[in-house]
Amino acid sequence: MTIVHDPETGIDRNTAIDLYRSMRTIRQFETTAGDLFAAGKLPGFIHLSIGQEAVAAGVCAPLEDSDYITTTHRGHGHCLAKGGRMREMMGELFGREGGYALGRSGSMHIADNSVGILGANAIVGGGIPMAVGGALAAKLTGDGQVSVSFFGDGAAAEGVLHECLNIAALWKLPIVFVCEHNGYAEMTPVSVHLANPDVAALAAVYGIPAVKVNGNDVAAVLAASHKAVARARAGEGPSFIEARTNRWRGHFEGDPQKYRHRDELNVMSQQDPLKMWHATLTSEHGLTRDDLDLIDAEIRDRVLTSAAEAEAMAPSDPAGLTRHVYPEAAR
């Protein structure tokens, strides 16, 4: 494929397609997971990131396997964009022996040492200090690794975020704080949960460079991530990205969302990151609708196959449920 450099976005054709594939994979994974949940096939709760795909895809694009991320209860997209294996993720959602954690942890705790996913997290703000620790390790090792922490606007009200911003700034750590600002802390709108909805301003008071971007525009997210990651790799310290985006679904699947006005969904669909990038690919990168349909079909097939394989995995074995309470092998 020819690399076409677009002076407007600075994104070449291959990268543009990769971003689309990354976002489409997340959308399809989440849609399929939602369908499976609605069909009663997935136990517990799931939290979907439909509408927020551009943040995951754009932030993770400049990252290597050796870089670290931590993410949230709404973390499927970040894990996929960071290279998490879909089949094991699906297996974990189903509670199967072939899942990432042998069915011990479920949707909210995907972790994979091989691609630097320090873990999704079911405690709001709980993963942020771990990302700081990843950044400290990166700094001590000195190989130019970067650590990224994803969290939502809900976590902006958690004290631990402020502790971590302070430490990251004091110790000049190679970390990128990424706030996915979707306007809701679970079921509570930002007007009720943040005195200052300008989350990026919180980082600025610690002297951390902070930008606010349109989190539905994958090119804008990538540009911000690129700059922040480069700064971290160069040993210049932390950065903060506030990505304004939309959570199309409820806090969890099955949330009746009585707190939401119907008009919100209409507005959101006009800000669909996939539709927007689809238009850019056809208008600026020379792809046709058919090209993209082919990509969509291929991804759909891959996700459905993963789901089917996961469903067919053996259920987690109760005989082994106390394994791994303590680490088994010496490191």
Binding site: P129, T141, N166, I167, R331
Partner: protein, 328 residues
């Protein structure tokens, strides 16, 4: 062997382990430049540098989590949460995060980290600086909890904790800070999960640990007519069931002495296990002696009344030994 004070033994362990393994880090409030609030980390900054020995802000949750992330990324951090009471501020990172990393990732990640805290029980530090919270910690699967009551054990357990591949909570007694004891000169560790039989006896098993252990030893030293087998648990979790059960099978009597409040304490776990496993051998009801159900008080006379004193322990021993089982 060298005679060292309790805090010097901790300091020696930190020096030895940081020299042995350059993945070992020390992070905490006042640990670097000040050398620790009470001297335990003296000389480490000078010996190992500011990258590995870090003064942190007063941000307990963030520093425990930072240590955790660094552990997951291949380092072996020690994080100092100054007083045990302060861990309550970091409980998410201890309970929900560090303790569960191995389990939640089915062994894909480990968290080889140590959290150190002083328990200042007995030093007149009041309700928010002198709690004995070991039961809270021991109740969390995945977290190991150790507490040395002598200089040798403080050193040996800390060394073992640093070398362990999972999170270990190391509690240190401020009341013993200046107590002197013989410490081995070699690289000996005290294995996690092994109790120490301080004295052998046939009449009663006395299980204790931490701050209560020296007072229990004092009580027992004065008792010549009663054969007390004194066991210092050293590791609260996972506790050395075998040593305790074997002893109770011999003596038929158990007294557990700890400084924490009796209700819902570690003593209850030991008592229940002994009651279930040694039913046929028991010659007296299992007995627990600890603090009353109240926060730890400040005033010297209140704190003295709060913690089990040698005379309280001696009375409990004698009463338990005197118990005569009625024929059924």
């Amino acid at each position: 062997m060298t005679a060292l004070k309790y805090w010097q033994a901790i300091n020696r362990a930190l020096h030895e382990e940081m020299a042995r393994d350059d993945r070992v880090l020390l992070i905490g409030e006042d640990v670097a430049e000040p050398g620790g609030p009470f001297g335990a980390s003296k000389g480490l900054l000078e010996a190992f540098g500011a990258e590995r020995v870090r003064d942190s802000p007063i941000s307990e949750a963030a520093i425990v989590g930072t240590a955790l992330g660094a552990a997951m990324a291949g380092y072996r951090p020690i994080v100092e949460v100054m007083f045990l009471d302060f861990v309550t501020v970091a409980m998410d990172q201890v309970v929900n995060q560090a303790a569960k990393v191995s389990y939640m990732s089915a062994g894909n990640f480990a968290a080889p980290m140590v959290i150190r805290s002083i328990c200042a029980s007995g030093r007149r530090t009041g309700p928010q600086h002198s709690q004995n919270l070991e039961a809270w910690l021991a109740h969390v699967p995945g977290l190991k909890v150790v507490w040395g009551s002598t200089p040798a054990d403080a050193r040996g357990l800390l060394k073992a904790a640093i070398r362990d591949d999972g999170p270990v909570y190391v509690i240190e007694s401020l009341a013993e800070w200046s107590t002197r004891g013989e410490v081995p000169d070699d690289d000996e560790i005290v294995p996690i999960g092994s109790a120490a039989v301080r004295r052998e006896g046939d009449d009663l098993t006395l299980v204790t640990w931490g701050g209560a252990a020296p007072r229990a030893a004092t009580a027992v030293e004065q008792m010549e007519d009663v054969g007390v087998e004194l066991i210092d648990l050293r590791t609260i979790s996972p506790w050395d069931r075998d040593t305790v059960l074997e002893s109770v099978r011999k003596t038929g009597r158990l007294l557990v002495v700890h400084d924490a409040v009796v209700e819902f304490g570690v003593g209850a776990e030991i008592a229940a296990t002994v009651a279930a496993e040694c039913f046929d051998e028991l010659r007296a009801p299992v007995r627990r002696l600890g603090a009353p159900y109240a926060p730890a008080p400040f005033a010297p006379q209140l704190e003295a009344a709060y913690l089990p004193q040698p005379e309280d322990i001696a009375s409990a021993v004698l009463e338990t030994v005197k118990t005569v089982r009625k024929a059924s």
